[in-house]
Structures are given as C-alpha cells and as structure tokens.
Amino acid sequence: MADIAIVGYAQSPSWRQSELTEPQFLFPVISEAIQQAHVERRDIGFTCAGSCDYLSGQTFAFVMNLEAVGAWPPISESHVEMDGAWALYEAWVRLQHGDIDLALVFGSGKSSPGLPSEIYPLQLDPYTLTPLGADPVSLAALQARAMLDKGTITEREMAEIALRSRQHGATNPYAQVKDGRGDVDAMLAEPYVTAPLRRHDLPPISDGASAVVLATADKARAVCDRPVWIRGIDHRIEPHQPGMRDLTESLSTRQAGNHAGVADRPVDVAELSATFSHQEKLLREALGLGDRVEINPSGGALCANPVMAVGLARIAEAARAIRERGATRAVAHATSGQCLQQNLVCVLEGA
C-alpha cells in the first residue's frame, strides 16, 4: 500500500444546538484544514464527505454541504452515509490509485433538530427492535449490564472513565462538556438515567464538523514539515441484530486493530469513539492498549459527540497529539451502529 499522510486537520467546536446551518459551520472548518495543509483548494483531486440525512431531516442534505467545499467548476467527489472516518477510508483507497495526490475529507452533523431516541430505532430490525423503540441509550445500558454481570467492569470504573474524560475535555477548546470538577463518590450517588447508566456515562447531543486533508507521500513531504503518516487502517462489521453478538466484547474492533497493526509497536495515545463510558474499557481491551497508553486526551465522545464528525475528529485529535504534543504513535477509532456494531481503526505515526 502507498504511504498516505494527514497534512491538515480542523474541527468546529461542538455545540448543543447551533443556529448555523451545516454548510455554514462546515465552511470555516474546511477552509482551515486546507490552509493548514498549505495546499490550494483547486489542487485537491478527490473530496469525500460523511453525513446523515436522517439527522438533518432532509433528503439530499449532503448535497448542500458541498457548498462549503467549492464545487464549481465541478469536482470529483463522493459521500458516505456514515461518519467522516469512513469518508477518510474511501479517500485513502482513492489515493492508492496514484493518479491524484491530495484529498479532502469531512464529516458533519446536526443532532439538535431531531430526537435521537426516535431516529436511531429506525436503523434497527424493523420487526423486533424498531417497534420497541430500542434507542441507543437503552441498548448501551444492556451492553453495560452485560459487562457488569460478567464482571469485566464496575460502575465505579465507569464513573472514573467519565470523570477523567471530563477533566481532559476541560482543556479542549472544541469540547462541549468542559466541567472537569467532581468526584467519583458523588457521581455514583447520582440517579440512573437508564440503569446502569448515569448522566455521566452518556454522551452529549451535539452539532459539529471536522475535516482532514490527505496527501500521497511525495506531496506530503513537499507541503508539510511534519506529515502524520497513516500506517494502517481497517474497518470491520458485525451482525446488525445486537442479540446475535456478545456485547461484552468487540470482535470487529479486535480484527480491525489486528489488520491495522496496532500491536506492531508501542502506542502513546489512543482516541477512541467510546460514546458511552463502559465502551472505553471494552475498546481498550479489544485493541490491547496497556496502562501506559493515554486514552482520549481530547475528552473523547463523552465531551463532544457531533455524530458523523466525531469519528473523523478522533483521527484529527490523534494527528494533533502527534504533530502538536509530541506523541510518536497514535491509534484512532471510529464506530457506527449500536453497541459498537461496526468499527474502524487507524494507526498514525509521526515519522
């Protein structure tokens, strides 16, 4: 596989409810990523976006998002109805062809206009799960319960993960949840939202966007002092029906991590799309990340959860850890579906 590098990245703050339209808040994010890459917009050979019309509540909403790109004269572009991390995967594949040397990737979403608890059940089995209103929080609660029953996590560990995430989020200018105060005993005294999940175990509802510019090896070295290299990337999917899986493990994360080469060398930082606190521990074990690995220094999805941008933001944050904070090797993870049904793992290195 050809070496591909990240040469620019940007993200918007995460908002509970933005009054801007998706193209409006994408606009400066895409411009910033391109400027940071020191490339010209017209030199980008391929553009790929990740977004979800069900979130926006309008068919073909993704077409409007192209207005933030500069699509005239016409450009070569594609879209995935998935998190921008999968758009990055498509762009990475596209760059393997070797006929172009720059690609723009972005992800964006507004969760605020709709009700996630009504929208997400529609992506499940229409006979047995959608009519039950099986929403993400209820399904995540079943997953956490399964882990508690198996003894692979405790409610105290979940609260510790949440508190540490919030403390990190307090230092992240893009985070939505920035209150790092509190102590675990007080958090455990809070009532359940959906047992065994408390408020701190849940992600915020967020609007936001992220963007990344990719380059082939020669181009990356030409435009950038410190390209961040994609050393491995892979994604795997498990059955759609949560009842067919062991929810206490993430086989697809394990497989994606193996194929992406996570264990080949030590990892300094991991940015994991753990949308619920217990998932961080599950992912950590699936990826074989030991105690010395710094997990979610950005605060992760528990502090900012702009659906469709949050996975790509993990890749941007992992790149930031390498380029701006001295990490040598970082792992980024994105997820899709309920209870970690589908997972993408990306290994980044500074040299």
């Binding site: 933030a68 529609l122 006979y127 009519p131």
Partner: protein
C-alpha cells in the same frame, strides 16, 4: 408512532404488520435567513451580493459557494420585487393523498431585475397556464402586511417567500427575448 388499529384476523397467522412512523425536526433559523424573514414581513426582498464575483444569493446563505468566500451584512442588498420568468413547469396534479390541487398549475423561476437573483418554484397569478412564456415580465403580489407569515420559511427554503407573496402577476410590459434566459444555469 401509531400501531395499526385494524381488526386482526383472529384465526389466521400474522402475515403483515402496518407500522406508521413520523419524525419531527425543529431547526433554528440561521441568522442570515432570520434577517431575510424579518425583511419579508416588511415587504422587502434581500440578498447577499458576493464581493468577489457579484452573484446575488436570495435568501442570503452567508457565503458564495462559487468563490468560496463568506458574505456578511456588509454584502446585503435590497432586490426588486419584479422581474422576468426565466423558465417554468406546468404541473398536472395526480390525486394522491394530500394533493389539494385539481387543475394544471405553473411553477416558475423569476429572475429579479437588477441582477442574477432568481426565485424558484413561484406561483403565477392572473394568467392562464397556456399563456405563460419565458421572458414574461411579472411583479410580486404581496399579501397585506397584517396577513404576512414567515413561519414556513426554513433554512432549506432557498428562494421562498411563501406566506408573504401570493404569487407573481404579469405586468403587461413587452416580453424580454426568451433566448436571453433559456439554456442558462441559474444560481
């Protein structure tokens, strides 16, 4: 979400199940469209003129997607409420559920005088369907001020003045040449 209320056949197997769903979305109006809606109530059509290429966007979007530059209040201009039909479609209604129209009607694009700004999917009034022409001169028929309503204006209703303008009626001026408009893209 409403369950099927039809009487099930108590003796037979369940072979089919109705499942009705609806999703509601509530999006805040973005500032530039909020300003557009306020001006509509005042009987004014406003747009943003791109400082780079001069194209006019109505309603304002806050950027020019062609030049990829942001536009601000400083780029706001007031537009004429009269212009020219640049193209149209005659819609022959099929009586599907919810269809309120029974007779063929026109949806027209109207380019406002003084620039490129074009309002799409506009109603024409006081003109028979078979007399609509590309190049026809038209003027807005505003609702009385007290009846104007912008509750249907959304961030997605680019070019809409529904609730404030009843439609566009011929002014009686001579047509402009159709060739001036046909075969051109409208932004």
């Amino acid at each position: 979400m409403t369950p099927d209320t039809a009487e099930p056949d108590a003796d037979g197997p369940v072979t089919m199940m109705d499942y009705f769903m609806q999703l509601e979305y509530h999006e805040l109006l973005c500032p530039v469209v909020r300003r557009y809606a306020e001006q509509l109530l005042d009987g004014k059509l406003i747009g943003h003129k791109c400082p780079s290429c001069g194209l006019v966007y109505l309603p304002p979007r806050g950027y020019c997607p062609i030049c990829v530059v942001e536009t601000t209040d400083a780029d706001e201009i007031e537009l004429a409420d009269h212009g020219t039909v640049t193209n149209y479609t005659v819609v022959t209604p099929v009586q599907y559920y919810g269809q309120e129209e029974t007779e063929p009607f026109v949806r027209a694009s109207v380019q406002l005088d003084g620039g490129n700004a074009t309002m799409n999917l506009q109603d024409l009034v006081d003109v028979p369907v078979d007399e609509v022409r590309v190049g026809m001169r038209v003027a807005a028929v505003w609702k009385p001020k007290a009846e104007r309503d912008v509750s249907e204006i959304s961030n997605r209703s680019w070019g809409s003045a529904e609730g404030c303008i009843d439609g566009w009626k011929p002014t009686g001026e001579p047509d402009l040449p159709a060739e001036q408009f046909l075969g051109k893209a409208a932004f």
